[in-house]
Amino acid sequence: MAAATSPAAILKDAGLFALVALGLCIPIVSHRTDLGSDGLALTPRWGLVAGLCAAVFCVRLVQRLLLERRAARALVTPSPHQATEPVGAEPNAGQRLPRLGLPLFVGFALFLPLIAALASGGLSPARYWIDLGILILTYVMLGWGLNIVVGLAGLLDLGYVAFYAVGAYSYALLSTVFGLSFWVCLPLAGLFAGLWGVMLGFPVLRLRGDYLAIVTLAFGEIIRLVLINWSDVTGGSAGISSIPRATFFGVPFKAGPDGFSTLFGLPFDPMHRIVFLYYLILALALVTSLVTLRLRRLPIGRAWEALREDEIACRSLGIDTTKTKLTAFALGAMFGGFAGSFFAVRQGFVSPESFNFLESAIILAIVVLGGMGSQLGVAVAAVAMVGGPELLRNLGFLKGVFGEGFDPNEFRLLLFGLAMVAMMIWRPRGLISDRMPTVALGQRKAIGKDLVREGHG
């Protein structure tokens, strides 16, 4: 590696990037099309293009300078790859964190409503934070559910949202048509989703890798399109509304003599229901996590991980790989179904639009970014991926910079896409990629990511 690149070369490189950016901006950014009186009218926006190119130039310049400094430093300190003797492998902070991390996360989650209420001075003002908590926990649960399929068994599922949809519609239909209560519907929804998992899983599990991903994507889309078009049952694009609200194990959250507040002698507050929903999803998510942690130490969990490592070796050891994959698929689907029925009871409304491919992509991104198989990683990734875009809503001050018409929310998905790319380049194996053994004679030692395989199916 060259010790230093000349400043001129760096400038030239950044210039090249700006030039490419210019090319990319033409004509999609440079000319805005608007519906005018006679067809589309063009509005040139060269100022914006210039600004974008300048921004790209600066970002690249800074990046190159940083890289330059790192390269210079690398020349001074020898890299561990060049070591002739083993380099002392002290667990670094990143390795120690997972042991404390999960309890810390759960602890924080347990007290979040209290903290939010204290910080914002009352339950009602804290609603935003509790709602956000519910949203994040829903994705944590979905991530933990999909983690069984992708992280442990190494099966790439891009249609996970289908099972979320099955769960949501199961609850919506069972409660509105048959009048069943949430607590009856919840296990039923999980069961249905699991059955769908088996039904869809059976034909597709022979496929590997990207093909499996695409087939599952196709199934996810088919289910969504059927939900849209089969209007007699599903209500079509309009969806199903006025789904019964959650009750406190049969006691409704309402003002009046037989409501939750009267029963517990509290003044009526609509926030009780929200807090209850928060703890409900927390409990569901924790069940998912505990079951997964337990399963990892059972033969089935070990078989999943072995399957991810080497399917052919598994078969030579007498493991029925089809059944093993199906159990992973079905269990993942079941947790997706639970999450789906929670979604329905929380919203009181379901429509096919909530179950599009983007959702599947987000959930998969959470699992991969978290580090496949890691419970804490998935939780952290869910906070980042779901909470991060939420921050954009609060960037009102940008209006001062870019003018009144600027809506940061518009850029939510754009930045989300960029972030997905950036995070893969930064950490392709996810935040926590070490694997903890499930059984040990002596001390359990984390296994480095270089040895852990990602699966081929």
Partner: protein, 294 residues
């Protein structure tokens, strides 16, 4: 050389008229042989002779185009291997195998590798996961037994102190031995080894020979092995089958095979007079370049 009949009660594996075609290529052509109980049978032949294909047929990875593969257990039960699904060849017929390019679960520890091999009994003990999920003591006992069995094997292959290290971190020779131990943890009647001595140094080869003899004598497991290292083959096998271009060209005790002119010609592709000279030079060891693992 006594001809064996198919109903030989000592045969653990009987291969009858096995033929395997891939498109137009006949990799194995009308092969018949037997592997006897509590013996080490070696399957040798030049590269491309079809040895691994035979293994893949026996262990259920390929479905043979023609022929019959019978595995007879010590209790007399017979299994037709070509009719069993892949995984059932191990679970029901109790045939275990290793692979030419080692297939360990490299991201799992040495101990975990051996636990995965005991999947079937552990699944039963965990009540197919349901009872295990509840943490009942029955499963915990079964797991402790499985760990004990694994430890015993680790002791035997001298890897006990590395039990908690990832399998992918082990040196090559240790990985080979671990793969054999993992196959043995499934409790097989027949153990099929695909080039177990490839890439081993002379000392490791000697260890391997000792291990295989131990397996034959102490565990009543018959061994079928593919091997290129003639020193190993001649030292440990009780019986040798030679393949060339998918056909059997010789079958008998190592002593006879060593002197069989057809075998020598197949291996060296030279006239008989030259064989003696080459023999002396190489000490009968035919080195075979192994392709490096990716």
């Amino acid at each position: 050389m006594a001809t064996r009949r198919p109903d030989d009660p000592h045969a653990v594996l009987t291969v009858d008229h096995l033929t395997m075609r891939f498109g137009g290529l006949t990799a194995v052509d009308d092969l018949s042989f037997q592997a006897r109980r509590a013996e080490i049978t070696a399957l040798i032949g030049p590269n491309g002779a079809g040895k691994t294909t035979v293994f893949n047929c026996i262990t259920g990875f390929y479905r043979p185009s023609e022929g019959m593969l019978t595995l007879r257990h010590a209790d007399g039960a017979a299994h037709l291997l070509e009719r069993l699904p892949n995984h059932a060849v191990n679970r029901r017929a109790r045939v275990a195998r290793t692979f030419q390019n080692i297939r360990l679960f490299s991201g799992m520890t040495v101990l975990e590798n051996l636990m995965v091999a005991q999947h079937a009994p552990l699944m039963r003990a965990s009540g197919y996961t349901l009872l295990g999920l509840l943490g009942l003591p029955g499963y915990r006992r079964a797991e402790a037994e499985a760990v004990a069995k694994a430890s015993a094997w680790l002791e035997r292959i001298d890897l006990l102190r590395r039990a908690d290290d990832p399998a992918g971190d082990l040196p090559y020779g240790d990985q080979r031995r671990l793969e054999i131990a993992r196959a043995m943890c499934t409790g097989p009647e027949l153990l099929c080894l695909d080039e177990p001595a490839a890439g081993l140094n002379p000392r490791e080869s000697a260890d391997l020979a000792r291990l295989l003899r131990h397996i034959r004598d102490e565990h009543a497991t018959s061994v079928l092995l593919i091997e290129h290292d003639m020193a190993v083959v001649m030292e440990i096998s009780d019986h040798v089958v030679v393949l060339d271009y998918g056909k059997k060209i010789a079958d008998g005790p190592p002593r006879d095979i060593r002197e069989d002119p057809k075998v020598i010609a197949a291996y060296l592709g030279v006239e008989d007079e030259e064989v003696a000279k080459v023999d002396a030079e190489v000490g009968l060891t035919i080195p075979v370049a192994e392709e490096a693992r990716p």
